[in-house]
Amino acid sequence: MKKSILIVYLAILCSVLPLIAEAVARVDFIAAGTKPYPYWKFEGFRFDSYTPSRAGIESLLELEHSAIQDKEIKNSNTQKYALIGHSQGGLRVLAYPAFLKKRSESTEITVYDKNGKPETVSLSESDRLRYKAEYDNIQAVITVSGIDKGLKALDGGLGRLRSVIQNDAMTVYLGVNGVMRIDPGLMVILDVIPLTPLLELDQTRAFLIGLIPDEAGGFIKPLFYKYTNIDDVAELRDMTPNSEFIRKHVATTTDRMVRVPIGEHDVWHVTWTIFGPIPWVTREMAYTFFTMKEDVEVKIPPEMPVGYIVGRNSNTLSMANVKDPNNETYVRATCFALQNLFFAAGNLHLAQVGLGFGLINGSVTSSSECFAAATWMATIDAQMTEIVGSTESDGLVAKENQFVQKQFRDPGTGVVTYPHDNVVGSDPRGYTEFPQYNHANIFVATNKDVDDEYVIMLQQSVKQRKR
């Protein structure tokens, strides 16, 4: 339990504001080895140590394009290669072909420097040919747990994530206050961390953010402090679903929310009349809610084969184990201890309600708030899922955002369209799932099964790449 205490305090201390930084290329050339082609590896976004920057993903592409060009010029290399990108690197490799192709066809373009500053420049014929040559050298694109269509946690802007976490913080904060009102000595009895640091809402929020593994939640801290302008966190801005960057280089996605009935239930109501409050009940349908996605205006060039490797271990907390195999256990133990504490406090308030005076002194509210906080702790996985924004994910990126649809069947008319069907991989659905891997461990060299899928995808690209 002591280690969990450490985690909590580190989480609170870690709310130090970073400085604005310049963009740095995150690519590496990997020789073919046993694969049909060598490839450029595009690393992901640094969730664990994000430094806010006004340089967006477009700036990164400029830098990465330069790095690739430098190597090609140095080696007079005209060898075909693939692009394999993980996480935000998936989004960048997916955007890269459209980025190059557009330049090979333009006389004037906007370039972004490493601080994100745009500048309009003219392109000569030789420039365009250089872009075309580089485009032609790309054999295929593979995204691995890619934030291909954005990070669903940011859907609707930074406000969505702030809202979810602020709501969670309020739930826990009110539970903490419920404990303090009944008896702080409960913490000693139940061996729970001292809650005194959580008596302020922003400290509770920092504590909850600290429960999220850094590999998934490190970027959240700046959102609640100094950097309220989305352009100050430009990479996050570009990772917002349907961001300008994604619409420009990948696709536009339309969302339609629908409901699916799951059965009837009672809903209680009370109406106030001159005769007093009257409780009554209605039978109403309960629903689960879904989003129907349709990818339209796909910008990935149709001649470019794309493979999507989709991580499906949705246990967000397990991502913490990449650094220390016991981290998840510590977080769960902390949550369990807090669950018991809030539960005990809730019941102590209930005892006061049972004695009558609890109806007068606020114990009705406090018991409910303590139970809500206990439920939050007991359902930590569901809380992480809510932050991620999807029940199907790799612990960070929603499944549906890890690939561009190969086909779409209109549920009304049954008409099938093919947004981008030049897809490679062993699964005919257009994406290959790996249920055992989360976002943090899917892109390591020792994953032979993922490596084998790269080979299959690259072999298929031989026939599917059109030039």
């Binding site: 209680w268 009370v270 009257i278 129907m292 139970f371 809500a372």
Partner: protein, 337 residues
Amino acid sequence: MRRAKSISLPSAICHLPSAICFFCLVCLGCNTGLTKEQPGHELFKQNPVSVNWDTGSSDKIESFSSDVEVYTMNNRKDTAMKLQNKYRITTKTINDVTYSRIDFTSSSIDSRMTAIVSDGTTTIMFDPLTNQVQMRLKESVPPALKTIGSLISFGRINLSLIRSEAQRAALDMSEESGNRLVINFPQSMLVSNARERLQSSKIVFDTKNEILVESETVRIQTDGTTTTTTTIPVYELVNDIPVKVGTYTTINTKVPTLIEGFNSDVKIVNSPDELPTLSPERAAELREAGQLFEKSDMVFGNPADLSSVVTVVEIYKDVEINQTSDDLFKMIMEDVK
């Protein structure tokens, strides 16, 4: 001892099947009197309350014991009530002291906290199997609050005693139309700290039927968030005596500020009825095809506004009246001695 027949009540203490019934009731000009003709609450029809009253001992409720199921629903997130908690509550008045005991039934919690017993001054948390005490805590409740609280029973209330105690404590007491007696409690009696202030608290009695009909507290936090909690007990008639069989509570939280940073095109859904419906079969097909994905963060209303109304419904089951042995409170009675 015999099993008593339970009958639903109308108006302030009734459970009506629908809004239509409610309006019919209003049109017919019903009052808060007890009748035996209204249909039972549907929730209780599905979960009938069995009330066992040892009428051989007393026609007053001296002890009350019941299993309680607690359901909650948040108007911003839920479309159904969820079972949140289960416990057994027992209260008994012995030699003018009211005792309360809570036994937990959940198996997922820490085994050290399976029962709580309290007399309003001392509370003991213990393991009922071994009687090992885990914790003792002292309550610092204002005497008037404790006394009036002890008079709020699970059925008919001695209002004359309530009035005299309220007068003795110089509480703000008013008789209102509709046979309502309202007692307001001063802030000096209510708990406040640096983070929150209990702004007001009142209890409302039906003087005709001699029952508690409502309690309300208003709490304000330092950031301006206001929480109004209203609890309405629900009763049934047993041998012509009202017996509490549940409560209906709303916790209305108003957060004064909005969360910033939402895109201007965020879709706001105020009600599930605004969304098209897919059959479960069609939904399964589309999910399999990778077109449909569960939305784990559904919020009704403006997502930037964190205000909410949480409804908490307590349903009593297997109510036992005047059947509780003093032994259940032996631990605290001996402890106090």
